[in-house]
Symmetry: C2
Subunit: 273 residues, 2 copies
Amino acid sequence: MIKQEIINQIKKKQSFLCVGLDTDLTKIPAHLLKEKDPIFEFNKQIIDATYDLCVAYKPNTAFYEVYGSKGWEALQKTLDYIPKEHFTIADAKRGDIGNTSTMYAKAFFETLNFDAITVAPYMGEDSVTPFLKFKDKWVILLALTSNKGADDFQFFEGDKEKLFEKVLQQSKKWGDDENLMYVVGATRPEMLQEIRKIVPDNFLLVPGVGAQGGSLADVCKFGMNKNVGLLVNSSRGIIYAGNDKNFAKKSRIETQKIQEEMHILLNNYFIHN
Amino acid sequence: MIKQEIINQIKKKQSFLCVGLDTDLTKIPAHLLKEKDPIFEFNKQIIDATYDLCVAYKPNTAFYEVYGSKGWEALQKTLDYIPKEHFTIADAKRGDIGNTSTMYAKAFFETLNFDAITVAPYMGEDSVTPFLKFKDKWVILLALTSNKGADDFQFFEGDKEKLFEKVLQQSKKWGDDENLMYVVGATRPEMLQEIRKIVPDNFLLVPGVGAQGGSLADVCKFGMNKNVGLLVNSSRGIIYAGNDKNFAKKSRIETQKIQEEMHILLNNYFIHN
């Protein structure tokens, strides 16, 4: 998928929401456990209930791998079920030496046909660039994550900059805003201003709104650019909004609340800027 | 598996070799492609040809994920086939926020029953410690990798130390030499001396000998400790030693060469130290 298609979809739906499919058998409604493929059945109903309100879906691979080859099948079926207009992100946090990263890229871009994959930067250029060689596919590189452990290394201070700033600066040489996005957690919205100075045009994937406590208004205030430039993710807040036969209806209600807030924020931003 | 079992096996076999199972359908002998599960058939013959000469096997998950659920099945069968005395490493380079890392830990330690998994440190403490909560299981944390891209961030210089040194220092608080090993590439053996000052007792998993150009003698000179403390990996040099019906025999010959060199190095080291 190319950047303009993402922007068009945001404008059409007045939403820059990404729904995270962290589907956990211990958390989904009990009646689904009787289904042949409970994970897929749950995802299917969540997708049916939310697709017109969001622009992206982000399955988290850990939640599928935990069920071995059956989980991998559920992931494949989920991906096939997501409407073509949606941007699909494998939240996989991969990254390895060149020939291995190429294999991961094939796994997620060809075998599974995702549009994007999250990649960890620790191993540097030759661990990231193999993913960038696939046409109309995206790397979403970890820059500043939403968890507490982000403090351990991402803020490690060099002469001129912090590690996450170095990651942003260095990776700009490997790709551009047509194939490279960054993960920036909503739990540190004040950092978005600094980040926008380094990567003004790239889309940012922002986790941490909702269950992790980040504010959507702050994320927009500090992170939005002229093409919106944000994909804000919510996982648990949406998919586990209910836990009975009406779970999909409840997840739609939660999704709608976020979409309406996004609609207002989009209008405010594009009127006042 | 506990540390003493690894040490016992090294002494018994006079080998600290880990065989990397980066099994690629485009590289295995053509006659195997007729088999129902060519990846497993290849791995089975490699294991049969090498098991008495090595102490660990390390399947690289990318090479299985690329074939989707079928690849995951081949990985499961491979793991079930590896003799129980061998230390098994999922070279997966995972790491995510806490609840997700817990799912990855379950995927690799429970669903697949690996002894160890490689983990990327970028997201810090709460992305690593969930793996450390599993009894007799191991985290092998990326410290200094063998690829060129290691220069991009791992040598990022702070006030007192480089990033990879910070990773070693910080992670020592999260685990100990009974559940935490480190990846240190053989392509930078001179760094092993410095690394041993920080983590004298932890085992190091050392890739990069062979195809990537590292020297086994140098790795031992700078990295060995009183319990050997090294697992040296070779993947392509062993598993692709041959490409015809005799491929397993040829991989045994290559494995034997390394084991014999290791036997000599072990004797030299423990006589002179």
